[in-house]
């Protein structure tokens, strides 16, 4: 469970302009977020940019995605800027990050997706392009991100099948291999699937499945 103390420790030196408080079980981090150029400890010329933000963290972090709001109005509020009208920032596809990051601690989040998002905003402000690319809006972007996390081509049917296998604590060897060969898993890509299973836990796979909102027909297609 994420505690206020952990949050305060994570931001204490890294983000001295932020303050953390606990409001009704949610840890709220507010203030000025600095975007640094990545020098070891300090940039001689100071931070590249500053954004006024509010970050809402659940105690169930990282199971629950943080919500980030740009409250200073520096970023134009439209989908092309990857921000909603209420300032809600679409930082990244959360499960893609959880499935691919080595460090999913709060410090890892601050130094990873959050910094990259605001560095990206700064870059976009200056150049009109996104330095790390961008995902398509809505479901298409999510599928794209999940396919990347699974390391497979972006086909919804395959993504769903992979996730259905991965959500099982113990994918059975007699189930069809997700590669589409028609063979059983135990004689095909069993090792690869288990390696994926270590990276994408059943809990995470379930969360990804839920977010993809499969229809009934999708749910029962390609049964085990």
């Amino acid at each position: 469970m994420l505690t206020l103390f952990e949050v305060q420790s994570a931001i204490a030196f890294e983000q001295p302009g932020l303050r953390a408080t606990e409001i009704d079980g949610t840890i709220v981090v507010e203030g000025t977020l600095v975007v640094t150029d990545g020098s070891a400890v300090c940039d001689p010329a100071g931070p590249l940019a500053r954004y006024t933000v509010r970050v809402e963290l659940s105690q169930a972090y990282p199971r629950v995605e943080p919500r980030v709001f740009e409250t200073g109005g520096r970023i134009a509020r439209d989908p092309d800027h990857h921000i909603n009208v209420d300032g809600d920032c679409c930082v990244t596809v959360w499960e893609n990050w959880l499935a691919t990051a080595k460090d999913t601690s709060l410090a890892g989040y601050l130094a990873g997706p959050l910094r990259e998002y605001f560095l990206g905003q700064f870059w976009f402000e200056k150049t009109g392009s996104w330095p790390f690319g961008e995902r398509a809006h809505g479901m298409a972007g999510m599928e794209d991100a999940y396919a990347d996390a699974l390391g497979i081509p972006n086909r919804r049917k395959d993504i769903l099948y992979y996730l259905r296998l991965l959500r099982q604590p113990w994918p059975k060897g007699h189930w069809p291999c997700p590669c589409g060969s028609g063979q059983r898993l135990r004689v095909c890509h069993r090792a690869e699937l288990w390696s994926l299973h270590r990276r994408i836990s059943p809990h995470l796979a379930r969360a990804m499945l839920v977010r993809l909102q499969p229809s009934k027909s999708e749910w029962f297609k390609e049964g085990f």
Binding site: P44, G46, V93, F122, P131, F132, R135, G141
Partner: protein, 416 residues
């Protein structure tokens, strides 16, 4: 950059090093103090001294020995030079009172011969005050060697490895305490102290950087001597400089509450534990301020700052009875983190946030900054040195983006 370089500051480290150098005891003052305590040592060991048969030896301990001395807060305050007067006596032949009086007698004779004020007796030491201009006083701690008993006690408490380490426990001393009931009785049960073991531990926490600093010093001063021949006090490591800055920050923050301020030994011990041989002062400060609290242990619900050379001694033993001291420590730590981080993480190197400037002392900071950034023209140096405006920002951002791309960790924004 070191204090000996005359070039202009170009980074946060250059500025912080200049402030640390301004906080340090000036070399002339250090030499003066050294000459005076050596003269005192010579006096105690002169043939007609009543202590001459006991081979008295004077040597510094505390911040003078550790290289973490900080300038007094005001010109009216004095450097506190802590000295051990170690005599080769035996607890079987001397009471604490006899030792204290014998040392006090000779120190008083010394003061009289130098036309100085008589030494003042304190609980464990004699304080020798010099004339106002000297700006320091000396606390002379009478002591006997007591390593055997110290090591035996360590072994009995299960710290055999520490007891077997001659550097860490082989120079322990027995000291006097005039509040004890056996003060005037022959007794083996004297208070013990281990300042040289602590100094050896402290030196071990910065061994790599100490050697490196001495090597640079030798090269700079064109000295052909080996690194081992250069005395420790000639150089400062990032750990020592960081502790000087932190102690100064503490002094300014608790200028009106000296009694309850976090004590130097706690700051020094926790900082040395947290330090990981970082090569720069900024990195040392970051590591220390981020991690020093992790070295406060909890035993039976009580906070422990363990003496690394005597694990049954708690430097924070006053915290339970005076919770304000504990609260002040954590309050200070949070403030120090905030102040240094605001400068290091959120300011250009030539802009010291007002809060940090205030808590390091405005005059001292201005003087230090002016010594490496003379004139107003240099204040805009980052723009001049690093390029300016839009192109420079974009170039820096490009470096940041490239670094992220090459590290492989990058997340792409989308829209829900």
């Amino acid at each position: 950059m070191t204090v000996h370089d005359k070039r202009l500051a170009r980074s946060h480290d250059d500025i912080l090093e200049a402030i640390a150098a301004a906080l340090d005891i000036p070399p002339g003052k250090f030499e003066e103090a050294k000459q005076r305590y050596e003269a005192l040592g010579g006096w105690l060991d002169r043939p007609e001294s009543t202590l001459a048969d006991l081979d008295p030896a004077i040597s510094p301990h505390g911040s003078f020995l550790l290289g973490t001395v900080t300038r007094p807060l005001t010109d009216a305050d004095e450097y506190d030079v802590d000295l051990v007067c170690r005599v080769n006596g035996s607890k079987a032949a001397l009471t604490q009172k006899q030792l204290k009086d014998a040392v006090g007698y000779e120190v008083a004779l010394y003061a009289r011969a130098r036309d100085m004020a008589q030494p003042e007796e304190r609980r464990r030491c004699w304080t020798l005050n010099y004339a106002e201009g000297a700006q320091f006083h000396m606390d002379v701690l009478p002591a006997l060697p007591d390593a055997q008993r110290y090591q035996a006690q360590l072994r009995a408490k299960g710290f055999g490895i520490l007891a077997a380490d001659g550097d860490l426990s082989g120079h322990a001393i027995a000291i006097t305490d005039n509040q004890r009931r056996d003060y005037a009785l022959i007794s083996d049960d004297w208070l013990q102290s281990n300042p040289y073991g602590y100094a050896a531990w402290f030196r071990g926490r910065m061994r790599v950087r100490l050697t490196e600093a001495k090597r640079s010093f030798a090269a700079r001063e064109r000295i052909t001597a080996s690194v081992d021949e250069i005395p420790d006090y000639k150089v400062r490591t990032p750990l020592q400089q960081a502790i000087q800055l932190l102690k100064r920050h503490r002094d300014c923050m608790f200028a009106d509450d000296g009694e309850h301020k976090p004590i130097s030994i706690i700051i020094t011990t926790l900082a040395a534990h947290a330090y990981n041989e970082e090569s720069s002062l900024s990195a040392a400060l970051q590591t220390i301020l981020t991690n020093m609290h992790l070295h406060i242990l909890e035993r039976d619900g009580i906070a422990w700052v363990v003496n690394p050379v005597n694990p049954v001694e708690n430097f924070a033993d006053k915290w339970p009875e005076q919770p304000r001291k504990r609260d002040n420590f954590f309050h200070w730590l949070a403030q120090a983190r905030q102040d240094f981080a605001k400068y290091l993480r959120a300011s250009p190197y030539d802009t010291i946030p007002a809060e940090l400037e205030q808590r390091l002392g405005r005059r001292l900071v201005k003087r230090a900054v002016n010594s490496v950034m003379p004139g107003d023209g240099a204040i805009g140096a980052p723009a001049l040195l690093l390029g300016s405006g839009h192109d420079d920002e974009l170039e820096r951002a490009r470096h940041a983006v490239d670094a992220i791309q090459s590290s492989g960790s990058q997340s792409r924004p989308w829209v829900r």
